[in-house]
């Protein structure tokens, strides 16, 4: 916002970045080095760098990526499919609802916009353990238990309240004058929404998508109940299984953590560019 930067301020900005980066990085780097350790190097720690203060090993990677490939690859594929499709579905339906709540006023008896919004969020309050068993029974009835489709629907629904709330706020932040002029030019309401509001709220859309994606990617307890075999089981179940009778398999958790971060990070790198100014400014001024 300010063109000339104060060197002292710049210094502190970078200092803050470095400090938080190390807060983020220390656990991540520790995970990285643990992924190459034998149990004994974990127990007799702290050991930091493979080849220098301990003898590194690829066994942990080999275990998942070669020995257990059949299971690992299926679960990885399920996770990616379920996370992406459920997030797309969630964002599509969620932004429609959010747009409705942001632009129209609903009134059914005493129920108004804010009540509808609160009803959405209230669906997220019960702890998952209370609802998983009824859900399990319901999915069995519907014959979508242990299918990717079932999980996609479930995650889309679970994340909807968050998507609705977040998107509504982003839409509210966008001046409605642009849509109004589009409507006057003969656009339908849907066209105005798709062509004008959605592009303008790209940063919010991306942020919400990433958030919803991460939730679907990492969800455990619902997946535990709604899946059963490699037909639909997802990665978090594999991760949770590393907490074993023998104590946590730190090396296994580390490998799985790193491989599960990878695809989401790639998506974040691709989408990050859309979380930036310019789009809106250009549109408003143009």
């Amino acid at each position: 916002m300010l063109e000339r930067r104060n060197p002292v301020k710049t210094f502190f900005s970078y200092l803050a970045l470095v400090i938080w980066s190390s807060v983020v990085l220390v656990p991540l780097l520790w995970t990285l080095t643990t992924a190459f350790k034998n149990p004994i190097d974990v127990y007799r720690g702290p050991k930091y760098i493979p080849g220098i203060d301990f003898q590194g090993t690829f066994d942990n990677w080999k275990y998942f990526l070669i020995d257990q490939w059949q299971f690992f690859s299926a679960q990885y594929f399920n996770s990616i499919t379920v996370a992406i499709f459920s997030s797309l579905l969630c964002i599509a339906i969620g932004s429609l609802a959010a747009y409705g709540l942001a632009r129209f006023s609903y009134q059914y008896g005493k129920i108004q916009n804010k009540d509808i919004a609160f009803w959405f969020i209230s669906q997220k309050i019960l702890p998952p353990v209370v609802v998983v068993i009824p859900l399990y029974v319901m999915f069995q009835w519907l014959h979508i238990h242990d299918t990717r489709f079932g999980l996609i629907i479930a995650y889309a629904a679970f994340n909807l309240p968050f998507a609705v709330w977040l998107m509504r706020d982003y839409f509210l932040g966008i001046p409605s004058e642009l849509e109004e002029s589009a409507l006057i030019d003969g656009c339908s309401r849907i066209q105005a929404f798709v062509r004008i509001t959605l592009p303008l709220s790209a940063p919010g859309l991306v942020a919400t998508f990433l958030f919803v994606l991460v939730f679907a990617w990492n969800e455990y307890i619902v997946a535990l109940f709604l899946t059963q075999t490699l037909a639909s089981q997802t990665m978090p179940i594999l991760v949770a299984g590393q907490n074993a009778q023998r104590g946590p398999q730190w090396w296994g958790i580390s490998v799985l953590t790193l491989v599960t971060i990878a695809p989401v990070t790639v998506i974040a790198v691709i989408l990050e560019r859309y979380i930036s100014k310019g789009l809106l400014v250009g549109a408003v001024k143009g």
Binding site: A97, I116, M138, L166, F211, V239, I253
Partner: protein, 300 residues
């Protein structure tokens, strides 16, 4: 919460009733269908005795009386409130601060933006395990530093207060990125004009923040805090992995209490605990929503 920007009544043609419903219907339908059965079922369970042998008759308020009559639920509710209030405040301050930092024109900005998001991308139970390694001050990465200060032999997770602090720190490591990214997107969609006008009037950066950025970010802020609050009330992975709820019951959250009851397949009591939590969260969030909305209305 964001009702300060009133939906434009009559701003558009009134023949839009149909598209109005079109926008809302799919979401309402999906959430309703997936929540209606579990809600009815859990209400049924909450007033029943339901264990490994299946349905064992109605006890009506019996489960609630059992649960509320035991000090355990009150202890866990207190602990949960501490997690929610301390954790979410800390995460909001950090997340907002970092978002402000990352909207500045700094080198490697895009790298930092992605890096700072990574903790959120790890499955919660794995984050808890990673934190357990990091907080092990004997064989974890921080051991040499703690050794210098002679802090290695402090029973970090063996002391109720210290353990709570570590759990909040672990939770903060994981969830600050969520607030960061939502606030960042919010900041990036703010209109430019108010700033330009204020800069012409000679406003200082602090005034810009306090009088323009902060009020304009209040709707998004209140939403992001609400979402975090709802989620933080359900904190379970971090305490279960770090301390199992101990020492004593010092770090046990209500959801962990529900979880361990569920593990015994005592479904009646689990549902009762769930509804007690539902009541508490609704109470707290409604209070919060009302207070914040008044604040937003007054501030603008």
């Amino acid at each position: 919460m964001s009702q300060h920007v009133k939906p434009k009544k009559g701003g558009f043609s009134s023949s839009e009733t149909r598209s109005k419903i079109f926008f809302l219907a799919p979401a309402l339908f999906l959430v309703f269908v997936l929540s209606i059965f579990p809600t009815i079922a859990s209400l049924f369970l909450a007033i029943s005795r339901y264990g490994p042998a299946g349905f064992g008759g109605f006890v009506w308020l019996g489960n609630f009386i059992d649960v509320l009559g035991n000090r355990h639920i009150w202890e866990t509710l207190g602990t949960t409130l501490i997690y929610v209030v301390c954790g979410v405040s800390l995460q909001y301050l950090l997340g907002f601060g970092l978002a402000l930092l990352l909207t500045q024109k700094l080198r490697f900005r895009r790298f930092f933006r992605v890096l700072f998001l990574i903790p959120m991308m790890i499955t919660p139970v794995a984050v808890a395990y990673i934190m357990r390694m990091v907080f092990d001050f004997r064989i974890g990465p921080l051991a040499p530093i703690m050794g210098i200060f002679g802090l290695q032999d402090v029973p970090w997770l063996g002391n109720g207060t210290l353990a709570k602090i570590l759990i909040i720190l672990g939770d903060t490591w994981q969830w600050t990125p969520f607030i960061l990214i939502v606030m960042l997107a919010g900041l990036e969609t703010l209109p430019h004009e108010p700033y330009e006008a204020a800069v012409v009037d000679g406003a200082t950066p602090w005034e810009l923040f306090w009088h323009i950025t902060f009020p304009m970010m209040l709707p998004v802020s209140s939403t992001v805090i609400l979402i975090r609050m709802v989620e933080a009330f359900k904190i379970v992975d971090m305490p279960i992995v770090l301390t199992g709820g101990g020492p004593g019951v010092a770090t046990e959250s209500t959801t962990l209490f529900a979880y361990s009851t569920w593990r015994s397949f005592n479904l009646g009591q689990v549902s009762a605990i769930g509804y007690i939590l539902l009541f508490t969260v609704t109470l707290v969030t409604t209070l919060y929503v009302n207070t914040v909305r008044r604040r937003i209305a007054g501030g603008m």
